[in-house]
């Protein structure tokens, strides 16, 4: 009985995690893209796009490690952008 109860507990927990993942995956993707845009706007010098006044960059640069990390990870996968979109929308 206890084993069955544990199994059911595991199944429901798995379902809960799965549903939560599905419900947030799009928001997570949007978040990642927004973080990437923020990094591109503020670290535009990397990609040769116009940058904000230097004062802003100098002020926020010490706290930008997460955004730079996202930007670099994003640029690594840029060749496979189409596959990524297809993956997000579960197109088969």
């Amino acid at each position: 009985m206890k084993k069955l109860f544990d199994l059911l507990k595991k199944i429901f927990k798995g379902l809960d995690i799965g549903l939560r993942e599905v419900s947030t995956s799009l928001i997570e993707k949007e978040l990642e893209e927004t973080e990437n845009v923020f990094a591109l706007l503020t670290m535009g010098a990397f990609a040769g796009i116009p940058s904000p006044p230097t004062g802003i960059i100098l002020r926020i640069l010490p706290y930008m490690q997460r955004e730079i990390y996202v930007m670099i990870a994003r640029s690594k996968n840029i060749d496979d952008a189409l596959a990524e979109i297809v993956g997000i929308f579960s197109i088969e």
Binding site: R20, E21, S23, T24, I27, E28, E30, L31, T34, E35, V37, F38, L41, T42, A45, F46, S51, P52, P53, T54, G55, I56, I57, L58, R59, I60, L61, P62, Y63, M64, Q65, R66, E67, I68, Y69, I72
Partner: protein
């Protein structure tokens, strides 16, 4: 606190006029304390006062002090601190050679303008002075510096909107899945969704407030922008350009000093053309620049040097 800026083309006499202005103002307002600061990388304020000046504030009289700001040193010190801080913060990203990128920050476009603005901010924070007089770098840099607070505000507003969107999305995810964690290098960090805890948002808000205060100050009557010019076509064009570009940012020009004005009862033949140009430019200037008072200052046989000479110059040509 009153702020006086002296702007103009190179060689028009900004330093002499600003130095004389500071001497006169301090002489006739003994109860107030004044500071004159040269923000021009090619300093010659010390030459006008006939006193050696440096990057440290020096008392010239009871209530007048002067400084030649070493912008190069300021940029270097600022970036050294920042670079150390960055290399520590970004130690997990050294594999991307980002630390080398930080070393080239010194050559970022706009770094000089930022240093000039930071320097102005530093003097504004000092409580010991009642008025600041700035002898400025060439026109291009100065107009950009005066416009910088408004431009920065446009950017900070936009960046704060994007940042808010990031934090909103993080909050949504946090509500469903708990705190968001990110792996950076070998370290797991918890990402905040709270505006009051997000360091980037905090910096953007603070910087935006600082710039808004500066913008309001530059647009207020406490800031007096004075253009020093000469009765020549090119100087007139530049004067008009300064007025126009500052107008775009709602910054008003207070006064124009028309310096090096030639006075001859019987001009020698060799400079007759110059006198004609001068008269034409002056007429045009008075016709085209209506709401700004223009003060004529003649070309002197010898430039005033030292506090005594500068006070005489003030009494004779600047005092109204």
């Amino acid at each position: 606190m009153d702020i006086y800026f002296f702007l103009g083309k190179g060689g028009t006499g900004k330093t002499t006029i600003s130095a004389s202005f500071s001497v006169g103002l301090s002489h006739y307002n003994k109860d107030s304390n004044f500071l004159i600061a040269s923000l021009d990388p090619a300093h010659n304020l010390g030459d006008a006062f006939n006193i050696e000046l440096s990057n440290k504030i020096k008392k010239l009289t009871e209530n007048l002090s002067a400084i030649e700001v070493d912008l190069e040193k300021m940029i270097k010190e600022y970036l050294n601190d920042l670079s150390t801080n960055l290399k520590y913060t970004y130690k997990y990203l050294t594999s991307f050679n980002l630390d080398k990128y930080f070393d080239v920050l010194r050559y970022s476009p706009g770094i000089e303008e930022n240093a000039v603005l930071e320097s102005i901010k530093k003097f504004l924070k000092m409580n010991e002075f009642d008025a600041l007089i700035f002898d400025t770098p060439p026109t291009g840099i100065t107009t950009r510096v005066l416009a910088l607070p408004k431009l920065t505000l446009i950017w900070t507003k936009r960046l704060m909107d994007i940042r808010r969107k990031i934090l909103d999305r993080r909050k949504m995810i946090e509500n469903v899945k708990g705190k968001t964690e990110a792996i950076i290098g070998d370290e797991v960090i918890t990402l905040t969704a709270d505006e009051k805890e997000d360091q980037i948002m905090i910096e953007l808000v603070n910087y935006s407030k600082e710039m808004e205060d500066l913008m309001k100050l530059f647009q207020s009557d406490l800031t007096k922008i004075n253009i020093v010019t000469m009765p020549e076509d090119l100087a007139l064009f530049e004067t008009k350009r300064i007025i126009e570009s500052l107008n775009k940012f709602n910054i008003k020009v207070n006064k124009i000093y028309l310096n090096k004005y030639l006075i001859f009862d019987n001009p020698p033949e060799v400079i007759e053309g110059k006198i004609i140009e001068q008269d034409r430019v002056i007429e045009k200037m008075r016709e085209e620049i209506k709401n700004i008072s223009i003060k004529d200052i003649p070309l002197l046989s010898q430039s005033p040097r030292g506090i005594e000479d500068l006070l005489k110059f003030y009494d004779n040509y600047i005092l109204e």
